[in-house]
Amino acid sequence: MKSLRRFLNRLFNSGTQRAQEERLREEIAEHIALQSEENLRAGLSPVEARRQAMLKFGSVEAMKQDYRAERGLPFFENLLGDLRNALRSISRMPGLAAVIILSLAIGIGVNTTILSWIQLIRLEPLPAVSGASSFLVVEPRTDTGGYPGASWLEYRALQTQLPALRDLLASEMVPFNVGEKGQTERTHGQLVSGNYFSALGLKPAIGRFIRPEEVERPGTEPVIVISYDYWQTRFRGAPEVVGQKLRVNERDLTIIGVAPREFQGTMPPLKFELWAPATMTPALLGGARDLDDRTSRAFSLIGMLKPGATREEAQTEFTTAMVQLTGDYPEANAGITGEILPFWQAPRGPQRLLMTGLAILQGVMLLLLLAVCGNTANLMLARGSTRQREMAVRVALGAGRWRIVSLVLSENMLLALLGAGLGVAMAVWGTTALRIAPMIGAFPIQFQTRVDGLTLAFAILLGVACGLIFSAAPAVHLARLDPQEGLREVSNTPPRSRARKVLMAAEVGLAMVVLIAAALFLQSFRSARQTDPRFRPEGVLLASYDLSGRNPNEASEREFAARLLERLRSLPDVEAAAIATNVPVDLHGIPARTFTVEGRVRIEPGQDRAITNTVTPGYFKVMGILLLEGNDFAEMQDKAAPAQAIVNEEFVRRYLNGADAIGRSLQARARSFTIIGVARNAVYNSFGEPAQPAIYFSYRDVPAMQGELHLKTRTGNETALTSEARAVLRDVDPMLPLYDVRTFSQHIERNLYLRRIPARMFAVLGPLLLGLAAIGIYAVVSYAVARRTKEIGLRLAFGATSGRVVLQIIRENLGVIIWGTAIGWVLALVISVRVITKGPVDVPVFIGVPAILLSVATLACWLPARRASRIDPMAALRHE
């Protein structure tokens, strides 16, 4: 207690140094005055009285030392002094400091941003839900490896059969049409189990949440919870919203509450706006039998372990439960087992994919930061050497080794922390920029990344680590300095610093790795953009409709599509129109189905699978996909023709060995089709994919509730078709919204979104790193050259040509650089083959990048070398 108080007082005093000094001075004066007076009274002369008084007081300076030591904290005062010194010395090199701080800021900022993504996916997958990372996904799994979801009855059974889980939550993703007839708006929501909100531990922003008893009986509780954003944008945040009616899928639901601000549902990164009781399914989805049909697997289940329970226990219970369900309901559950996985490994979300990508990105970016550190260390080392005299003077005046080290350290730490601070600012900017929700496919998605305590700590840690890394070499170098040596004339040729060369090699090597990674990434992105998709997206408008609120049957679906197409084709600006269930290059991918085909006997176990799309006649014309053999599908109204299928070239090559396909029968989707045509291969899921076997079915045979309209314009301006298409749909069905209207090119761009972020990152960081490496090399070489001015002058005086001098300097430094490049190149090759592409080596990248790096390095060596070779030999020799 006493010592704490003393410490605080001393800490405070460190700040009020001047006032304290003044007080002591005054006290001493008073003391001496009083003593002198007394001596006067004792009969001494005034001069002698004062002299005696001073003698008696003792050494004022020694006492002041003691006093000061007692008053403040020498450690902190030294630190403050160091900091002040550091600030001063940084302000003397604004250019260098700016390069260092900016490069560190970029390195730290990028790393922090990536960590905030990893944090979001791995640690806080459900915004607004605390402890969400410990949720597990409970996924039924088919024997073919698919994850179809759980049925409602299955959910009710599992609720009691998984005692290792605390709560089991069910939710179904549904598109809602919200609003009055004729002006509905498509909004995405979830139908949820009764324990949904309570198990997530959420508190409503206002109102209340769905109660368990409201999810007991089907369709009797027409209530709905809205998202915070929805509340703000549609109701301007008015508190009266609770109790109001919301028209959803032509039913009135009462709004009972608003979810917390950041809550976006339980299927990140999808962003939902509405939550209704799962038992409202039949009422909202036109009599859908999701609640009592065991084959309707629409629900996603998540749960959290009970304290003390393990995932293995839960998995065992789940397996047992699924085996029992298979026994009880063989027609619905045959071949279905289940898996319990951590949330971030959810098989039906993008999390797993993103995590792998982000982990690689983070690794590469940490290497980038390390390269930046190497660069900074080299710059500081070069600078530190020019300060040898200063340090030598300090040592000569009695500064200890630790004082020198702490001086260097404080200067570098200040730089590192300034860089980290700026980096955090960049990360804050970066994460907010990424939060802006794009629509991907038909779904709004949102990544609620943010900079919080953890990411902040990470940034500071990186800053400190960087500071330590690039302080080490200069600090050791300066602390080992012999003051006598240092005080001598500088041009005494010093031993060539091995540290600088090793650092230069390391930096160049790291830069090599990062640059190759960046180039590989950009290359794959660019090739993705330039590959011929083998269909023609130009002039095509896409739009979606969904009949799921209508409780449609096959006949009504077919009829609707036929009527819509007929009306659309009659529009003057429409050259061709078609409907398909899937659009290529969609982020969600196109489903693959199992099939058997006449004339193919599979030897290996398992089943053949091919990508399937269901399209109307005219689809191949709209898409510009050539039919190599056979004909287009029969017209929609044709009732005579048998069920038809069209396959692609790859299908014929792979499964029929190139034999004639037309007329063969193909079994899929539990029925038989006749192959009537062969289409050219196209891109289906992603650019640059290997050729995929594909089967097209006809809408006439297997109609669907959802459809993607494909409209090919006659005029070249496909967006102009939007209003016409809307008008046609309103004519055909006034309640049905046309949603997700976009041009095909927009569709492609949007789905490249996730790949574009890292591509942009690399496109900016690559050249930047190259620039930094060049600056680093330049600094090292020009420093080394400056130290050898005399030697160079001598050689010039003896008749060496400036060309030879330049060549020699370049050769010396380039040797080191080539070593670094070679090591980095091998490392990059290993990483590329083992981790990134796992495939063939991209030869142009592995030749081009080192070529660029080496030419830049040569230039960075040549500039200072040329300057050195132009000195006047006489001047150089007089340099001393």
Binding site: K2, E26, E30, H31, M63, D66, E70
Partner: protein, 115 residues
Amino acid sequence: MKQKTEVQQGTLALMVLKTLDVLGPLHGYGLARRIEQISGDLLAVNQGTLYPVLLRLEHEGAIASQWGASENNRRARFYRLTQQGRKQLQVERKDWEQTASIIGRFFEVKTEDLS
């Protein structure tokens, strides 16, 4: 020699506390004079050493100081004992007496007491 000053520092603090306890608030010179009177030559030279001790005691909260007017109406810093200082004095006095008595007993020890 050095050891001697260290011992002095500790005893000096105790003397300051005791003097302030008996005489009430004093300025630095006053304190130095009183201690000199009582202790003889301890402060005959190096009166200045008093000031770091005063500062430490003030940091510990045993004494407090404020500006006031000295006998000849000049500005001087007056030190007084705080409540905490009084307690500290009691504790240290007890410690000191205990130490003194133990050491005293050791000095009185004769050879036969230890055999």
